[in-house]
Symmetry: D4
Subunit: 242 residues, 8 copies
């Protein structure tokens, strides 16, 4: 500790003592066993760029420890393998997500509203839903709320206003986030999607639109990041339950 005070900055020695045996090594991946204790949430496996076999091994290792686990961005092969291997799991085909178990949070009556324009945004919206369910938070999806047909959103707005947090998922011009935020008093997490073509530039149009929202109460996550929006909503929604 004297050396440390002397400015040599050896936080590492202290830290090393702590983290022994906190990771499990599968060769291709090291699993962070302390994350759940640290953050209250278990591992989430980002499936893109991993082989079905690797995903299976990672999930098997976590499940074998009795921990809940969620995987996102799975391709069709991985989905099939996981469904076969973990019959007790829950698959969300549209989201391409699969979970085994879930965090046992105490349920309040509250819920998170996921609002989007429709068919094309469904994979992202459902990723948010699957994530919230894994995290023990109830989610309700409000599809078919594109701003080009405002009456469809207005029909549902009373229910949306009862949510603890709102997730607005929108591609193309991303106007939904501003419109929703102008109609509710709760925080709005905006998810731009890559849905669109041409001057949409892979979601950039919706991203910039949401960053510049004229409505108060909007914050933004990465393009297509349904998981990230759900995680933020979970953190926020949790506050009402303490």
């Amino acid at each position: 500790m004297a050396d440390f005070k002397a400015g040599k900055l050896s936080e590492s020695d202290a830290a090393k003592l702590i983290s022994d045996a906190q990771t499990m090594d599968l060769g291709h991946t090291k699993i962070d066993r302390s994350r759940r204790g640290r953050t209250g949430v278990g591992e989430v496996v980002y499936g893109a760029g991993k082989t079905p076999r690797q995903i299976l091994e990672i999930m098997g290792a976590i499940v074998s420890e009795g921990s809940p686990v969620l995987a996102t961005r799975l391709n069709a092969d991985a989905m099939e393998m996981l469904k076969a291997e973990f019959p007790q799991g829950r698959a969300n085909e549209i989201a391409r997500a699969f979970s085994v178990g879930s965090e046992n949070r105490e349920k309040s009556g509250g819920f998170v509203a996921i609002v989007s324009a429709g068919t094309s945004e469904m994979p992202v919206a459902e990723e948010a839903k699957a994530t919230l369910e894994f995290l023990g938070v109830r989610a309700e999806c409000f599809y078919d709320c594109g701003v080009a047909g405002l009456h469809r959103l207005l029909e549902k707005i009373e229910r949306i206003r009862q949510a603890e947090v709102v997730i607005a998922v929108a591609g193309m011009e991303g106007a939904l986030a501003s419109v929703v935020a102008g109609l509710v008093k709760e925080p709005v997490i905006a998810v731009p999607t890559s849905v669109g073509y041409g001057a949409n530039f892979g979601g950039l149009a919706a991203l910039l639109s949401m960053m510049n929202s004229c409505a108060n109460g909007v914050s933004v996550v990465n393009i297509d990041n349904g998981f990230g929006a759900a995680y933020n909503a979970y953190l926020i929604a949790g506050k009402s339950r303490l």
Copy 2:
């Protein structure tokens, strides 16, 4: 004409015969005297980058021929000089526009609706209004229609629907264009503005947003181009009057 047919492409000789005496040369500027006969609309002077003195000379030359003329993007000095020189003219201080005379179009009962969020977009919206008035088309401005407070737009929507064309002027995320287009059956000309900061990138956010509108019936002009939107609206509105 034989040479011409032989593929030597001398359209120029023919054209030269026609356009004699069609331009007036002021040294710094050549005025296109045939434009009004050709397009039905006189010269419009784009004031940015010209000295007050140059603007005065151009407008004086046109007025002295008995033609109507509009100038836009004027700075304060140019505005003062023009007001002193042409007491019969009409100044729009917010738009920084000045006109002498106007096209004598036969008035129908129709009008163009100019919809915007408010204070910051007013210079662009008023440029559209001043242009339409110069072109002999009636314009009504609907300010305070930002999508963050949707009820303000909905209050006015019945009247907006009676317009022949709608111009939607919006900065920041530009969502107004989509929302308005979803509520009316008329064509919507969208004008992105450079109002905003940060990730607005000088109007790029609103521009991309409007290009990607999920609503049908939206077309877009350049950032801050109130004049251009008005010119398009004038062309379209004219159709109901033929």
Copy 3:
């Protein structure tokens, strides 16, 4: 209504009464049955990202109600399935569009001119044509009008000038929109296309070019958006017929 006045904003309750039974739910898609009454135009199915089977189901549901329907951005499989299923339909192979029925608008003698440089822009130009035909508006295509060989455009300009609206479809540098707008008195809807390579950046070059047109009367829709240009043209052309 008292609560509503008190500022609690329950437009939704009112709206909910209205829209009962306005949508038909196919599982993957909700069909907006009130759109045609609301906007005068039936559903248009955007085929990209949908399976042939989904497209077939959507179109079948709409046709079974006796409504006209148009589908765009179809792949070869979807085209084949639709042609087999709806022998009464109309296929535009170049546009990859298919329609059953059309809006029964009263025909005027007028038409919309679709001008483009040629082969590469044909799919976009034909999408505009198929859309206009579905909407009951006559369209004439003027191919082979690239600005690099101006005489080809000049040959056809007399006929183009007789159109009610002009759609200019151009990739590469998009100069066609400015040149055409300088030669006609009607509104020009410009469609940048993604045709090109290198510094074309997926249509960005043509898009920026068209946004900055030095000619009056040009407004722009999204890259490759033949449908959107046609929809705008339909709205504008309709004005001459009232």
Copy 4:
């Protein structure tokens, strides 16, 4: 109401009944008098682009109604005028913000942590602080936490962890948001700033960095938008107090 059901969409008539006398018109600005009832928060005046005189008039009108009001992005002249006119007001010189009164929220023991690297980000961080104080939420600033000297952040992390929400303000590479989010369990609102030069491109580098955070629990607002981050934090922090 029958017409309404028939799909003619006249929400506007209903809405018009409600909003009578909800705005106060100052000529240059319409003040939304119903906003506070609607959202629980009074008007916030965005000072950029307004003259000191306009700002003074707007604030005077609101104060004369007995409502609290906050102004941001004030230049030196506006600050001086407001301090002279409203001696009871509160000025934050670094933030260039000025408020009269504040929302009387019931205070909890909680607070929002505002974390940043130091001197250059102070105007944005202080804008967040001034906003939170206006909204009745306690804020603590943790300056000098740049990631280049991690020990400075680690010294303060215990206190930061006690916050209800964390606002991370960072220019240059924006890494602070990820590092902080990895160390706390609360939601992190990230504010990219335009501090930097060269390849920072006016804050774009920090913005993209924060959008791509590898840490969970981060959402992002516009570049330099201290106000927006504070508003989000206020909405979230409020949840612990219900």
Copy 5:
């Protein structure tokens, strides 16, 4: 002609008289038969996006008229079909170009130098070479001249200096254009290529580099546009021969 003078602009009528029978219509393509008379150069078929069958038909039609023709950007199938169909043709496998016949320009002793770094730029450099040969201009390629090994360029510079025009083909940072232009007195046509990865952004890095060349005498064509560079070189080189 009176109408024409009156400003009705009917250049088209005149032009129509001329261009009768100047195009040959293959259904998918209209061939411009007058181009060669007009510009001295026959049709060049841009193969990208056309089927091998379409390319074959176009070339067959031109060849059957006794005109020379060049096709570029051919895929392997098209190359095979053309070689089988036109045994008298000339194939450049690296350039993916194929020509039948060539312009019979009077040969001078001069040549165009094509300079590039090596293997990766060869397809673009060879497209330039095949084009020049088709146009009747002699071309010499100087590969292996990357600026990272300056001695390789310096070895060849005496010969390069004897060229009438220099084409510099370079990907990555595109520095070759500046270095070459600093060493020769002739005009340098720079061709950025899309060779590279990461921050090369599809050739943008080389394009911007070449546009900003500190050396005099450099002008730039589109990314990978070997054909365009050759066409410019042909126009310039021709001047020495008049």
Copy 6:
């Protein structure tokens, strides 16, 4: 020389022998005295970022050696100082250029055509003209040729076709370059200008437009680079005179 062959690359020793006394050192600037012998063209002073005093010293030093010299991008102060100091010099006020003497090239009857839309592009077009005159090449300017009024260009096209090279100067959408190149057989050097606003992005729109020209024979120099275009034209035009 043995070491050199051994791969140690000491070109520098050889080069050092040669270049002795080839530069003149003014403290702030080193003047390259051998450039004229090497390239046939004397020094050109780029005035932007230099003080009037520095420019005066540089030009004085060159003139005192009896060499011709050109300065571009001069501000008003520098222009005045130079006119006073060198009464024998030639000033181009629009171009903000000043020259003393010129290269004594043997005059042919040929000329370079500089084509542009008009007033706004004049500074760039005149910079090209001043440069060509300094280089001993005759230049003719064709203003008022914007593509929005095609007849103005067609009137002049016969004369433009007689030029040895064409320089096309255009801001906004830059379409002029394509249109001109489609009408002439000579090489076209395109100069995008920063004239415009909004989605013009400082000349980027015109630059991309010109890079993607659908017409053959166009190459492009940097935005506003009238000097560079002229230098290229000078190199090309020279070929007809050998």
Copy 7:
């Protein structure tokens, strides 16, 4: 030499004498035989865009001369062919790199630390490692150091501080480079990777982040350029050994 002094710049003649027989020509590739003598490092074959057969021939030619050689960016087929052909070689499957022999540098006790977040960056980090090993420099990889879990980096920091140079490999927001550079005294070479999605824009987010690092001692190489980082580290590390 007299001509040379006279300014005709014939460095090439001199250079030509030197470089005779320095390249070996394989048809598709010229191998630079003098590079190793010149720079101390043999050829490195960039495998992307080359066929397995071409790679095999190049490596065979170099090996047959007794020189060491490294190939990077190999696809699976090329890896298999090389392993079969050169059983004495060393394959790094994750890096997709293969080497035969290595530079025989005198080993010091020193090493280069390669730090990264984990699984996704492994191919780039391993490319750096394979390169360093080929160059005769010892490398240690420190995976699982993402800034979202700072304790993992702090555990290893003592060892990382003992390195001569640090390579920081990071995708997403690239914060790792700044954090590491704040903790060590050695130079940090930062490698942005294309790992991520959405607003990551192919590695641009990490690249800009690293360019704007608030920590001293960071320099940056191209996206995914593990080879380049290693080469720089090799040059720097070499200094401690002289």
Copy 8:
């Protein structure tokens, strides 16, 4: 420590013990007194955005502790105040840098070469020089080495090759970095500058160019970051002296 192990992550408590009294608080700035002990280098004051008075106070506080200090990016007023206040200091007027004292590193015979094209890059190159001198490393500047006149670089290359590290400072197309790196065996730190106009986009062209260098051994720092390049060079050069 038990709590710490339990995953509550209180590194902060440990750290707090250490850093007591390590900062000096001037109100506007906190000075990091431990930095010099920690990194071997004292504070460097970034002058941009600070008032002359603030800079004076910061430097006074550091000097009064007997530590050396460097300030960069100073405006004229700050330079004057510092020269008056610290007559013992060293001013570099071109770099706009000022230092009092310097690090007493043991001098080797080695030096860092700073290579640039000339006048315009001098402020950045001199910032690098002033920084190196402050850090106790000898620097030599090689101006007038633009790649457009290669002989000027080749003349000096023998001396540049003797440096321990090379800093290449270049604006416009940034080609200098690649050319230099191809001629030396030492590491090259490339500094893009914002010198240029048009498609240079504030230094982006040079930045991308340098990131894509075809030469080995180049790493890049931020645009105009002479200080950063020097700091890296100092870290690398130090290695030869251990």
